[in-house]
């Protein structure tokens, strides 16, 4: 196995740890590449197609490389009621990408998730896990500026 994936050793070889293994890979590389699928398949002794079958089931796993800053728009019920559709449209327009895409220079990527657990601050989004609440157009533009040159 590629030395790059030596960290899988910590996960434990039982097949029931497959999801954990995929999470470890995504945690390290930001997404699940073809190369890492091969490594996982070898490590667990599970055919690559089966690995893909499992990972495609779960929304968490990304098959394309995300940007340096991962923006997640919450479209849970509370955020939806409070206008998350517009938040999504504004973000798309500012960044020039749709949900599920990464911008050309690999700086921002955009995804839509269901509920970040901060519903009382709806509408919310997160940037690399940091949650921002009570969004309006002004605050979104400000937050993007903050990350623009980071």
């Amino acid at each position: 196995m590629d030395q790059k994936y030596a960290f899988l050793e910590k996960v434990g070889k039982e097949p029931s740890n497959l999801i954990k293994g995929l999470q470890a890979v995504q945690g390290a590389e930001g997404y699940v590449s073809d190369e890492s699928i091969a490594a996982i398949s070898e490590y667990f002794g599970i055919p690559a197609v089966e690995v893909e079958g499992v990972l495609s089931f779960y929304a968490q796993f990304k098959r394309v490389k995300p940007g340096k800053y991962k923006i997640a728009i919450c479209d849970g019920t509370a955020c939806h009621i409070k206008g998350s559709t517009q938040v999504g449209e504004w973000l798309s327009r500012e960044l020039g990408i749709k949900s599920g895409e990464t911008d050309a220079r690999g700086h921002f990527s955009l995804e839509t998730v269901a509920c970040l657990g901060c519903c009382s601050l709806a509408p919310v989004m997160s940037v690399n896990g940091r949650v921002y609440g009570k969004l309006d157009r002004k605050s979104i533009v400000k937050i993007l500026k903050e990350y623009e040159n980071k």
Partner: protein, 574 residues
């Protein structure tokens, strides 16, 4: 003002506090407070007042501050015990709440073991260990506790199923998937008092003879996972996991973003590292679950109630609530109301009390409340005298659900709300059952057509016809409940559906396809903020909106200082 000495300062740094900026407040307070200890705590449930700071005085009193900012002015005010920004629980809320499960939330440092044990923590376990396992099961039965994960199954009865099994391994699983998108009770409890959930699990392990303990937590909750991990290590250190002479393993598994994995058999498949697809029951998990071993699943809040029952006794617990629903319930209140947050009330409290008295919603502006998330239904404001318990809500075509409660204002469209839920469920269907997979997709497509103004009356009949079929033809709770939001809105708000179809009108002016933007020049001060703000350049220099270009994004409406840009019925501008 007589200057009492400050003993300690606490800052609420649970996820929602942090989202409001509490971490920066904590940092600044630490650097400014010199010798006064400043500690992070969990969540007091008053999200609208976050970030919140509690100043504990030498005389035992506390002063709370609300909406604190990480600025020196705010910190000066706090350190000098100023009168500005003080917070008190609104009297109407105080009168209705009954804080039992959340008693320690926001009152202790969740990462400190002693903070829990010095406040009655692990006394429930101690009492349980002094009883026989069968008596513990019986105590939980007598308490009348029912599962808080949505189904409301009697907890003691479920425990007795696992206890009766004779197997080399028995598995106990805590369902911390909290899949209802708009609910955060379990997150708050795990972040704020992780040991309470774990104590409940250890008691259950003793009572049922479980040998392996899993917590299946959604990955979107990093802080909950972190606090649980710390707490588990503390349990290992203090050997609290040694039960009946056997060392029990407690394992956290992170979910990977699939709503259906909250369903018991799907959750078990996911724990085994497979696709989270539900399977037919029987066999029930208590007969054959994780890797074939007898397994039992309870929700986070269910476990969180158990230490109370053991500490205070089943009778004290059963004295709270209604005939069929005992104890208190946590609700995550959000949506169109003044004071969103996490609340705890006795079972049987009415929706009116929760939404208006506790949540501070404006009775003139509320249309309905949605309970039970995508599996639930809406309850119109006219029925708000309904007591909240398992059985009353079911009668209304809604469900108690796990505790997500979304207040829907009069300016929201119920057809669009139903479309939203079906968008969610049709994407989350695991695809195993045709009725669920195809049926929810067809429902979703039909609703999309209606909100786009392209619906027909036959579509409404189609929705009413297919709904019950999806219910019948689906294997698991996802499919069986997916039509609920549509059927409930059709039942109470049929006129809104008909207006979309017959008059191409969205009463709430929410559905963009049926709306134009209109700039009323009478009050306009020609500041042109709208022109500059419009992201698609749809507003001309002489202040006319080009509705062909406009995306109905509301940016201009929100920025206008004179509030003179309106959403109007499509085609109504001459």
């Amino acid at each position: 003002m007589s200057q009492e000495k400050i003993r300690k300062i606490r800052v609420g740094v649970a996820s929602c506090g942090v989202a409001a900026g509490a971490d920066a407040v904590l940092e600044l307070l630490r650097s400014r407070a010199e010798s006064i200890p400043v500690e992070g705590t969990g969540c007091l449930g008053h999200c609208y007042a976050e970030p919140m700071v509690e100043v504990l005085l030498d005389n035992g009193d506390s002063i709370f501050y609300r909406n604190v900012k990480a600025e020196n002015g705010y910190i000066d005010n706090i350190l000098s015990l100023g009168e500005k920004d003080r917070f008190e629980v609104p009297p109407a809320r105080k009168a209705k709440e009954l804080i039992k499960v959340l008693a320690l939330a926001g009152r202790i440092d969740p990462t400190r073991f002693e903070d829990y044990t010095e406040n009655g923590g692990y006394e429930g376990l101690k009492r349980a260990l002094s009883m026989t396992p069968a008596d513990v099961v019986n105590e939980v039965k007598l308490s009348g506790l029912r599962g808080r994960g949505g189904g409301g199954f009697p907890t003691g009865t479920k425990w007795s199923f696992l206890a009766a099994k004779d197997a080399p391994e028995k598995i106990l699983i805590c369902n911390a998937d909290e899949g209802d998108p708009g609910a955060f009770m379990d997150r708050s409890l795990m972040e704020s008092v992780p040991h309470q959930v774990l104590e409940g699990m250890l008691i259950a392990a003793y009572a049922t003879g479980a040998t392996k303990l899993f917590i299946y937590c959604r990955a979107e909750y990093p802080m909950a996972i972190c606090h649980l991990k710390i707490a588990i290590n503390q349990i290992y250190e203090h050997k609290l996991n040694v039960i009946n002479g056997r060392e029990l393993e407690i394992i956290i598994k992170e979910g990977a973003g699939a709503f259906v994995c909250g369903e018991e058999t799907a959750l078990i498949a996911s724990l085994e590292g497979q696709r989270g697809t539900p399977r037919f029951r029987p066999p029930f998990p208590t007969d054959s679950g994780w890797k074939g071993y007898p397994s039992m699943i309870n929700n986070v809040e269910t476990f969180g109630n158990v230490p109370l029952i053991l500490r205070e006794g089943a009778a004290a617990f059963a004295a709270i609530g209604t005939e069929g629903s005992k104890g208190t319930k946590l609700f995550a209140l959000a949506g169109d109301l003044k004071n969103p947050g996490l609340v705890e009330v006795p079972m049987g409290t009415t929706l009116r009390e929760i939404v208006f008295d506790i949540g501070g919603a404006d009775p003139d502006k509320v249309k309905a409340v949605q309970t039970g998330g995508p599996s639930g239904g809406c309850i119109p404001v006219e029925l708000f005298d309904t007591p909240v318990d398992y059985d009353s809500l079911k009668k209304l075509g809604a469900i108690m659900g796990s505790g997500g409660m979304i207040v829907i204002g009069k300016d929201r469209c119920m057809v669009e709300t139903a479309r939203y839920f079906l968008d969610f469920t049709h994407r989350e269907s695991c695809g195993k059952c045709t009725f669920c997979r195809v049926g929810t997709t067809r429902m979703f497509e039909t609703l999309e057509r209606i909100v786009a103004g392209k619906g027909e009356m036959a579509d409404l009949e189609f929705l009413e016809d297919i709904g019950p079929k999806i219910r019948m033809g689906s294997l698991c709770g996802l499919g069986q409940t997916a039509p609920n939001p549509v059927l409930a809105t059709l039942r109470y708000y049929r006129h809104e559906y008909e207006a979309h179809v017959k008059d191409h009108q969205c009463e709430a002016l929410q559905c963009s396809a049926l709306v134009d933007m209109y700039l009323d020049k009478t009050n306009c001060i020609k500041c042109k903020l709208c022109v500059k703000t419009c992201p698609v350049g749809a507003i001309s220099d002489d202040l006319v909106i080009d509705n062909e270009k406009c995306t109905r994004c509301n940016a201009c409406k929100d920025v206008c200082p004179k509030k003179t840009i309106h959403r109007v019925k499509k085609g109504s501008i001459q």
